[in-house]
Symmetry: none
Subunit: 201 residues, 2 copies
């Protein structure tokens, strides 16, 4: 019975978490190999498992941090709770001639890394609220429910991708929008044409 998907054993997971907690983010190939060799003592594992584990863990860690930043950025909003502002658009959106088909838009057309963000992240012991993002938003207004794997390192965010260098090798054009096979019939502003008054079923 082949197991198509690796699942870390508790020992493996503990070691990986410990390495991550110590600061390891992008292990080199030799590091991945050593880790894999070591973890293989506790169960079947491959290098790509270790590689993916660090990729995913860092990515999801960073997602939460970015979410926190967005929440705090929009904390100024104290108006009515009917309309939720969306002031964290990743796309500059200058041509607002049409408002739709931004659904599956590649959110990062430009690869500007986050600027030196202020130290607002240390602010996290306070009641924080609504969040959302392109994909993985994990908490909401009034409810602070962080998943178990939320690891925030001293409330600091890394302003740079530690050890990664981005080099452009090809130019794909500023407006190369990958067209979806099926068109998107939904626009952002028409999600709820009706408001709280009536709920038609």
């Amino acid at each position: 019975m082949p197991r198509p998907r690796w699942s870390p054993t508790p020992q493996q997971l503990m070691i990986l978490q410990d390495l991550y907690r110590k600061g390891l983010r992008n292990p080199t190939s030799s590091q991945v190999q050593k880790i894999t060799t070591h973890l293989s003592l506790y169960g079947k594992i491959q290098c790509k498992n270790v590689f993916y584990w660090f990729q995913n863990h860092k990515a999801r860690d960073r997602q939460k941090l970015r979410k926190e930043l967005m929440i705090l950025h929009k904390i100024h909003k104290t108006t009515s709770d009917d309309d939720v502002p969306h002031q964290f658009h990743t796309t500059p959106n200058t041509n607002n001639t049409n408002i739709n088909l931004d659904y599956n838009f590649p959110p990062s057309t430009f690869h500007t890394l986050y600027p030196h963000s202020p130290s607002i992240l240390v602010h996290q012991g306070e009641g924080k609220d609504t969040s959302s993002s392109s994909t993985q938003m994990m908490n909401n207004m009034g409810n602070v429910d962080f998943p178990k794997h939320c690891v925030i390192e001293n409330g600091m965010i890394r302003t740079n991708v530690q050890g990664w260098i981005l080099m452009m090798t090809d130019h794909m054009g500023p407006n190369s929008i990958p067209s979806c096979s099926n068109n998107k019939p939904l626009e952002t502003l028409e999600l709820f044409p009706i408001k709280a008054t009536g709920s038609k079923e």
Copy 2:
């Protein structure tokens, strides 16, 4: 006390289904926020609930469709062809002059960019770990394959991403990481300061 798991109210579920029926699959952050805010009128809900709902609904929708198609394919199957959802095509390139452990290695795309794949992967163990003999040639071990889109060079893992190359460097800048990384916290030799406590398994 614990609210372990969210359960949609009938109104919430109906709204979600309606949005899905209208074509919404991957709601953006602002869309999720709007939906969550709207659905909160009918019960406690978080952004992640909305997010997971769409993810799961789409996944199970697709899964069901796929199973039906699989049954259809199995009717007139019986040939030697194998049906795989992904492109696990093991590139039959045989110009691999390297060791035998990189069968899962990058496709030909990377060989054009980096014509030579050094074999440092096997014996890169520059120094020696503090523990006993653990680093050795793992030729025929099954734990040494990296993701297919990666190439190893000089102890670095390069990932080709569509016009971009993310080069993961081994050494970090002297003052690059202020938060949790010291200048040299992650040496290979220090990956496993503790020996494997052969506890279980």
